[in-house]
């Protein structure tokens, strides 16, 4: 078996603030194989966006990143500032959430696309660059004239496509898509996701898709990782997880999805996500868990274990 593309080992991102320590990511272990699409789901505040920033090493003080993030064997956490800068876009590219404001408002699209390449050492003549830009725009199904326009002249979907074009412009190894379609309406959402999925296949990229839309995940990814309060609750093959969710949280997430044809009461999840400031010992889901075991869950931290081949769950319900 070839080495995984990304190995995240015991990733911890803590923010040291006056009120205490915010454990946004508390010991996450994750593996991304080559050519695999991994979905990372969770509620707001679960730490999923922080994951994206942590992998890209964009956490600012008072936050710290500890642990290991291995990309093809190279630990990103230990890289120098300049080396990390080159890795961004060159090897790992991010597609931001809500491209509404992600592009420089005073620069033309062409300039925004070119600067990523220039700052990574690509020197091309004007004609060659123009061709490249046209090419990229074509790949994301945008007309060539977009290059001369300004961000505010484009629709949300078009702007998002531009960020996709920028993300693939240097043929990275991994795409991290942070809720790329949350800000768009459903129709455009589908189109943009189709574009992304198609590109991932054509260019043989790996992808981490971050979001909270289980339905979208089901259609777009191969593996799924569920996060709760800064920790992983469950990971595994996406179809398997939908068919047989093991962690009570995953079960709640999936059962809350409306299904065509099935009528009945919607099951939500009572309670609100816990605060991750100075988190207490024990399973953080215990207060909302319908299957909580008295005495055990609140007192001991559950550990992420491989309960079935390829399926890792962090829950006291599953003993070795």
């Amino acid at each position: 078996m070839s080495t995984p593309l990304i190995e995240i080992k015991d990733l911890r991102t803590y923010f040291y603030v006056r009120a205490g320590t915010v454990k946004a990511i508390d010991g996450v272990n994750l593996i991304l194989e080559r050519g695999v699409k991994l979905g990372l789901v969770g509620e707001s505040g679960s730490g999923k966006t922080t994951m994206a920033l942590a992998i890209m090493r964009m956490i600012k003080p008072p936050g710290t990143v500890e642990g290991q993030v291995l990309l093809d064997g190279v630990d990103l956490v230990k890289l120098s500032g300049e080396e990390m800068r080159k890795t961004r876009l060159g090897q790992i590219a991010m597609i931001p959430q809500g491209a509404m404001n992600s592009l420089n408002p005073v620069a033309r699209i062409r300039a925004s696309m070119v600067e990523g390449m220039t700052d990574h050492g690509i020197r091309l003549s004007k004609e060659e660059m123009n061709k490249r830009i046209e090419n990229l725009l074509e790949i994301v199904e945008l007309p060539a004239k977009v290059a001369r326009m300004y961000p505010h002249e484009l629709s949300g979907g078009m702007k998002q496509r531009v960020t996709v074009a920028i993300a693939i412009s240097l043929r990275p190894k991994v795409l991290i898509a942070d809720e790329p379609t949350s800000a768009l309406d459903v129709v455009i959402q589908r189109q943009v996701m189709e574009t992304i999925t198609r590109l991932v296949k054509e260019l043989e990229l790996s992808m981490i898709l971050i979001g909270h839309d289980m339905g979208l995940m089901a259609q777009s990814v191969d593996k799924l990782a569920v996060m709760y309060a800064g920790k992983l609750a469950e990971t595994g093959d996406v179809r398997d997880m939908f068919a047989d969710p093991m962690h009570p949280y995953t079960q709640a997430l999936i059962s809350s999805l409306p299904v065509l044809g099935r009528r009945g009461v919607f099951h939500g999840l009572p309670g609100i996500p816990p605060s991750v400031i100075n988190p207490p010992v024990g399973c953080l889901f215990a207060s909302r868990c319908p299957k909580v075991i008295a005495g055990v869950c609140v007192e001991q931290n559950p550990v992420l274990r491989e309960v079935k081949p390829g399926r890792w769950v962090s829950c006291h319900l599953y003993k070795e």
């Binding site: 600012k60 961004r88 991010m94 420089n104 600067e115 990523g116 700052d119």
Partner: protein
Amino acid sequence: MRKYLVRRVFFLIMVVWTAASINFLLPHLTGRDPIKEMMLQRIASQGLTISAATTLIQNYTELFGLNKPLWQQYITYISGVVQLKFGYSIPNYPRTVIEIIIARGRMTLPFLSVGIALAFIIGVLLGAILGWNKTPRWLSNIMVPPLLVFASVPQFLVALVLIYFVAFHWKLVPLGGAYSRNLVENWHSTKFLLDYARHAILPVLAIVLVEASGWALGMRAMMVTVEGEDYTTFAEARGLKSGRIFLRYQIRNAFLPSLTGLALRLGFIITGSAVAETYFNYNGIGNTLGAAIGNFDYFLLYGIVLIMVVSIALATFVMDLIYPLLDPRITYRAQKG
């Protein structure tokens, strides 16, 4: 584009017309005749003979048609203004107002424009550095109080302190005036230019200290706002060089409000500099304004005020045209909603 231009030009005309009208109406509102007053004052204090005064009064009455109905006088006045005929400066008869304005304006314009441009550039750059996330916090914070003080006080105050320390105590620059007494105004002579520059150092410094501080503080705050914007985050996520992010993303976006501020502040800077000129004993238009007030030279006073209003309105107008070029989101069409 055309509609916008037309609107701005119309506004410009409105402003000038309002100022001219205020100029015209004020003396009439109080029911006093500034000319007669001026003459009486001249007779009393400067020995203007009664016959000379009477001749002058007659000339004026004819020139401005002062014996005609008010509305006619108004029209004559406005048409006179349009042709830049502001009349004579009584204390300096037979020099005309416009002649004096041009002569003095020549002195003020160079240092004023240099001062404003320098102040803006220094202010924006200083603010950008202070607001940059790579600048240590304590340095940025410690600069705020002195900048705040400088930004809050009027120019002439700074001028006074500057004159006392730099010119008088340390004798680094001349005490005042636009150029040395023994020189003749000659813009082609290097000697003159250098001398002018030496004399202009403090006036420029006064403008820079006050205005750059204000812009630096504003820019600094704006940099923090821009830092938190999505496009800055995404720029970093794309592995752009930090120099490029600083210039093309942060400064480029953050300085736009400062530019608006410049347009709004222009009138204030120019009038503040005018007051400062009296403290510098500078032979420019500001000092002349002060002298006109003191001499009851109403025509010169009104002429200068009007020219200043026009200049400031024009400058604002030009800025209005430049702004859309720098911010593509502002189009020449009117904003919706």
